[in-house]
Subunit: 403 residues, 2 copies
């Protein structure tokens, strides 16, 4: 059982049974493989007698993206497992608990969160998550601060950075977010109705300059250990609970990429409210929840991050230089705006779309939504470096909608 | 002989003799240990019959700095050897050739350059190096471009970055350049006559902000594989030849740190011309050589780097985004100015000084020189982010001298 091979359900049960203090000895366990089979096997093992359960996630040595399989390092299972452990230590209760990591099998055994809903699904159902902004801003502030040179020993940070070098998964981001949408690439995917928008992206020099700056920052900045793929499909939510999952893209990069990912996905849902069968007041109310969440994510992040810095900052120069913190926070906001925009654009014309928009049944409404999301995304990218406040980001979304 | 131990001269000869195609079989070899014994053993092995020779450099597991020995990873020998090999491939003829690297012994066997002079010594003797600006700008352009995301595959760069993680040596830089001079640290070393200058550094908030920004860039930017310690004591020079040695501080960092190191050391020599027993015209002539070199290093670097980018740039976004190259080059110049300033300040009040200034015999002249070097350094740091041209950097040196 130690050499790598895709596990069977029976083997998954045996591994689950071997965990200490989880299931009762000799009890019956059931198992379902619930993954989508593209990147990982995901086994859900349950003890029917008590309802106790556990998740086994095993990486597959290939990814079914771009229509065919391409080889992908099993090392991402190690990165995911180690990132979950780091994040769980820094943001307790906001990620699934890891019970076991087996490097030979590229297997992580972790807490079952099936009492939560994938947040993207919840947003499509227009569920309000009153805890979300507070929880995710705690997750962002704690994980980003304490893995950065501001909040950890600079020499230990270099060793941690080394163990999170993640070329395969970073390449996916570099290609699909910071390159392909801006040229006529085979990987792009968009509806013919918005071909004019796609072609405009390919020839917009001013946009390319800003995307190049964002791409370069993604390639060369090692501010903190990022989740690396923090969209609403990587978040399990309940109105009273938030759990961040799937950090297999974790690497040392610019903080604004994680914050921007959250904001981009809230704004994609904001755009998707074009599709609304109910009354206008209800649509407005849900959009107000979403823009409030955008504002709450940033302002919660900013105040918590500054508080951690003031209380736990350990760098002798960065801690006391007058004005440095203010400059740093402004740069983070500007990065956040730009990365949010890039994350929105790729979801409309790039390889991977979002269900919030793709599931809108009416073609005309879907097209209007796509054009709106692109307009917001492009403006965020172009104005990123001039952003002075989170209100300006919200204003872009609101004013593009009014046009 | 494979387990690590400091080599004897007899062992060094045996290793030299075992090299293929260097010395004649059975010939007599002589050996001298010529290192300063603080960080490394350096054996000079010569074949008197022919004059052929070789250098064996072995890292010691400690460093005698700060007055007592502190442990230092032998891994720096691997880093130095691997950096020399990378640099030799990218900038042929501008670094010593590596004949052998033995990881167990932390030993690099390399080309003997004793027909060259350490450039700092040459500058103190007021030797003119007409090839220097052209050679060092080629070294900088080639090594920095082809190890960056602009000039090499982005995934291979991540693996190379991983193998050049260098916490011990980076810590020396972080402490001695980007921290200690700006507070009353035990490691600082300065003459009582300029205590007012040192205390002014400790309380200058505007300066601390700029140093914090430079420190943060040193900690988090992975633009390219740097030499990491490119002062004129790391350069062997002849009027017709330039060789860069000792890259044990190599790591992935901001390009401006290497370029700034070269410029800082030229400007330290510029300041040291306060000491001059000859006529004023000759002093002016040597200063003109030095400021010409400063200008030539940057303009040579800039034109060669842009040419490499235009011809060999491989990144699909960074290559073609309109205006990106211009923004990038301006940022490099600004980083260069700031890092040059930080490198000058630490040489006056920090732990490690430069012989150019410390060997000035007259105390009053030495003090005037130190104040001048500090004035240039501080102004470079404070104006760094506003720098628009290399002429502005030269103007700072010239106008501070005129005051």
């Amino acid at each position: 059982m130690t050499a790598y091979h895709p596990l069977t359900e029976a083997e998954a049960v045996d591994i689950a049974r071997s965990l200490d203090n989880l299931f009762s000895p000799g009890t019956e366990l059931t198992c379902n493989e619930i993954g989508d089979g593209n990147l990982n096997l995901v086994f859900h093992v349950t003890e029917p007698a008590t309802g106790k359960s556990v998740i086994l996630k095993q990486a597959l040595p290939y990814a079914k993206v771009v229509g065919e399989s391409w080889p992908l390092s099993l090392d991402r299972a190690r990165i995911e497992s180690e990132a979950l452990i780091v994040q769980g230590r820094l943001a307790p209760g906001l990620v699934p608990e890891v019970y076991l990591y087996n490097p030979d099998l590229a297997l992580t055994v972790m807490e079952d969160l099936s009492d939560h809903t994938i947040m993207r699904k919840g947003l499509i159902e227009r569920i309000v998550y009153p805890r979300f902004a507070d929880d995710i801003s705690t997750f962002l502030a704690n994980t980003l601060f304490f893995t950065s040179d501001l909040g950890m020993n600079q020499q230990e940070k270099k060793l941690q950075l080394k163990s999170f070098i993640n070329p395969d998964l970073c390449k996916i981001t570099e290609d699909l977010i910071f390159c392909d949408p801006y040229r006529d690439a085979d990987t792009n995917s968009f509806e013919e109705s918005i071909r004019d928008e796609a072609e405009a992206l390919w020839s917009d020099g001013a946009l390319h300059l800003e995307v190049a700056l964002l791409r370069e920052k993604f390639l060369t900045s090692t501010e903190a250990l990022l989740h690396g793929d923090l969209h609403t499909g990587s978040i399990f939510a309940r109105p009273d609970s938030t759990k961040v999952i799937d950090p297999e893209f974790a690497y040392y990069g610019p903080m604004g990429f994680d914050i921007g990912a959250v904001i981009a996905n809230l704004l994609l849902s904001f755009a998707a409210q074009e599709h609304w069968s109910g009354d206008e007041a209800a649509r407005k109310e849900y959009r107000t929840f979403l823009t409030g969440a955008v504002q709450g994510v940033w302002s919660g992040f900013e105040s918590k991050f500054r508080a951690l810095w003031n209380e736990h900052g350990s760098d002798p120069m960065l801690q006391r230089a007058p004005g440095f913190q203010d400059l740093y926070m402004k740069r983070l906001l500007q990065d956040t705006a730009g990365f949010a925009g890039a994350k929105m654009v790729r979801r409309i014309v790039g390889l991977a779309h979002v269900a919030d928009i793709d599931t809108i049944p009416d073609a005309a409404v879907r097209e209007r939504t796509q054009r709106l999301a692109l307009a917001i995304g492009k403006t965020l990218i172009k104005r990123g470096r001039q952003t002075e406040s989170i209100e300006q980001i919200v204003d872009i979304a609101v004013s593009e909608t009014a046009q």
